[in-house]
């Protein structure tokens, strides 16, 4: 998928929030934002594997990886960790990792997926 095509795909999701302000998002918006920037990383990663010298793609990847890191940290601090590397983002007397909803749980059970 070309990057313009990917951006087209992302545009089909209506902007319900300010995309570059993950601090202001609620749990569901932030998770949606994480899904979007993570997908951008997933896609550009494969492109770079076969085009490792494409400077524009490399700059785009760096930008999206930065956004993803920031959003993952905010999510971990506010709601709990999505990966083991984020478990220290907030002080808690519980092991928050296992208390987070699993991604196949239905929305009505309190998950925001």
């Amino acid at each position: 998928m070309s990057r313009s095509c990917m951006q087209e795909q992302m545009r089909t999701c209506p902007p319900r929030y300010e995309k570059d302000m993950p601090d202001t998002m609620n749990c569901c918006q932030l998770l949606q934002h994480i899904n979007e920037v993570s997908f951008a990383v997933d896609d550009i990663l494969l492109y770079l594997d076969t085009h490792p010298c494409d400077a524009d793609a490399l700059a785009y990847a760096r930008k999206m990886i930065g956004k993803r890191r920031k959003a993952m940290d905010i999510y971990a601090k506010k709601y709990g960790p999505l990966t083991i590397d984020c478990t220290n983002e907030r002080e808690s007397s519980n092991w928050d990792w296992v208390m987070q909803p699993w991604p196949w749980e239905p929305k009505q059970k309190g998950g925001c997926r």
Partner: protein, 208 residues
Amino acid sequence: MWNYEKRLQYPVNITTPNAKLAQFIMSQYGGPDGEISASMRYLSQRFSMPDRVTMGVLTDIGTEELAHFEIVATIIHQLTRNLSMEEIENSGLGPYYIDHTVGVWPQAAAGIPFNTCELQVKGDSITDLHEDMAAEQKARSTYDNILRVVRNMPEIADPIRFLRAREVVHYQRFGEALRNVQEKLDSKNFYAYNLGFDAPCMATCKDC
């Protein structure tokens, strides 16, 4: 080594269970062209590849297929939640229910269990990359077949469309990896030798 992230690569929220569709879509979990078949194929083929680019493409696509495996499992799980006994018996899911209740087990739509014979690791980069390109097209065809059935059900069709689009992208990347491998070979005879067997040093050679 892998790390888990507690989210789906693409979200799934199915509110209306449907036993028949669960049985159809299950083919992309454990069927001949399903996601586990894809992931096992790519992750296993990596070791005989001639260079880091090809190993990278197989690693990263094989990893993404694991994420797709989880998306398909979630679709099946959410389609089989809260089914009545009547729905199970009338939908054709009955035989599956007897063996697995509504657990998620890898099988094809017609009930054939997942089988490694559905994938190949030939130890030859030209052969394996052609198989990978074919695998992506076979999975794309299966998703097209599923989409004809679920076209009027957006909560199911939406994640299926995402998965289908990824097959097309992966096909493209495998094509580029194949071209990259062919450029290392004798253009007068691509088959003169197998890079993964006759010239295995290439991955660590200085000029790679």
